[in-house]
Subunit: 142 residues, 4 copies
């Protein structure tokens, strides 16, 4: 946590790889890293004094519009995983997160990823983010 009053712009979560997440290559199936990224940004948004569940209750959803992943090494069943999520960019109607997924025991870099999410309403139209989320994001970026 920074010693200033600024909102922290980084989250770290840890968890164990589930058997269900492996595939017959004996490693974690590549699509599952996107799920882990979503867990990371859920945690980061929670640090902004709101929760993603609350944002949705206000009729706004953050929909992924762009995702890119680079796979460096494989995660395996039982590995302890760390996901570091960083706020990369925030605009009135979109937000971009960076992710670094590591083996928490060895520190080995597994996947680096970036996703951009757009703020949409129930009809799928682009809308501005809820003001308190936007302020928190801008504060975190600053």
């Amino acid at each position: 946590m920074p010693d200033s009053t600024a909102t922290a712009a980084t989250s770290e979560i840890e968890f164990l790889v589930r058997y269900a997440e492996t595939d017959q290559m004996q490693v974690v199936y590549h699509a599952n890293y996107l799920i882990w990224c979503e867990m990371g940004r859920t945690d980061l948004i929670g640090q902004f004094g709101t929760s993603y569940a609350d944002i949705e209750k206000q009729g706004v959803a953050l929909a992924v519009v762009d995702a890119s992943l680079r796979y460096h090494a494989a995660a395996r069943y039982g590995d302890r995983i760390r996901v570091r999520t960083t706020l990369a960019d925030a605009r009135s109607r979109s937000v971009t997160f960076d992710y670094l997924i590591e083996n928490a025991e060895t520190g080995a870099k597994l996947v680096s990823a970036r996703t951009t999410l757009a703020s949409i309403n129930g009809e799928g139209k682009l809308v501005s983010m809820p003001p308190h989320l936007r302020r928190a994001l801008e504060s975190a970026i600053a």
Copy 2:
């Protein structure tokens, strides 16, 4: 198919096992068979002149309240799977389906399963099924 005007009470669907569905035991992860069961009853309900998507648009959901599965043999990546879904019981507020999941090429029995679903509204309260679905189910059972 019955020679009367009664709705058919059986569905058969076929599809290929996806890589994502395997686990490091080199076979399909056991939870995925429940997904295949759901595909089977979606198809069967579609034969009743309605679609499960339409039922939900009327504010009624069919929530699984009970499931049991017996695993006889393993499915593997690339296998062609056949799911035979049969209507086992229908009541005003619940419906029970039986499933037989086979390897479509060899005929080997993979999994037999049964699920019971309850008809609930948006608040999660038990409600009667939409009349046309109920009539179709009763006709199919008869």
Copy 3:
């Protein structure tokens, strides 16, 4: 942990519901509870002084042969979940676990489940469990 030398026969784990685990009914998709059961028994087996990953390295896999689930109430995105796993029965070539899945904040019972797993080798043949696992299971049952 019991104060005797007997192995504990219960595990408790907690975690948050992932967005990916929900479906359009706004609740956790029913097949995912089987994944949570597997997390519970992974933890319980770990308490037996071995790990399921190690068991597989010895060429033995525990394959689910029977599963039953009763759904009492729905889990939602962001809920904190507790899975209590208990050893129900242990034989030379199979083991049965019971699961109680609850909302960790409210204590509400969500799902009760039971799975039986068979000990198989790389060719899918029934084999006796590794001796140390079998002893730990028998001790835990006693």
Copy 4:
């Protein structure tokens, strides 16, 4: 299909969206499109006179090392999906595929994606692709 003897470098597959693939935003969860991409390249590789399952039996796996996705519109439960997979590049130890995921009924573009896969052996080391696969890929690219 080209009128020459060259292997076709495009695959088209169609299937229905599963309930399990939706999330509480009432649309397909974004990670699932990577699973659909994998189904597309499985089909395309199958057209090359081999199957991905056979490649793995030869001790070679194609591991995703890079993935990028652009989300244009949402898929919903029950939608018929079409995945068009194209071979974009082929080298001795890697291959790149492009994907266009559409609503098969409306033709609406849902997701465009690209993945690069590396050819690795059982120890995770980069190796050359099996000769017949490499020849097929080169022929398709030409």
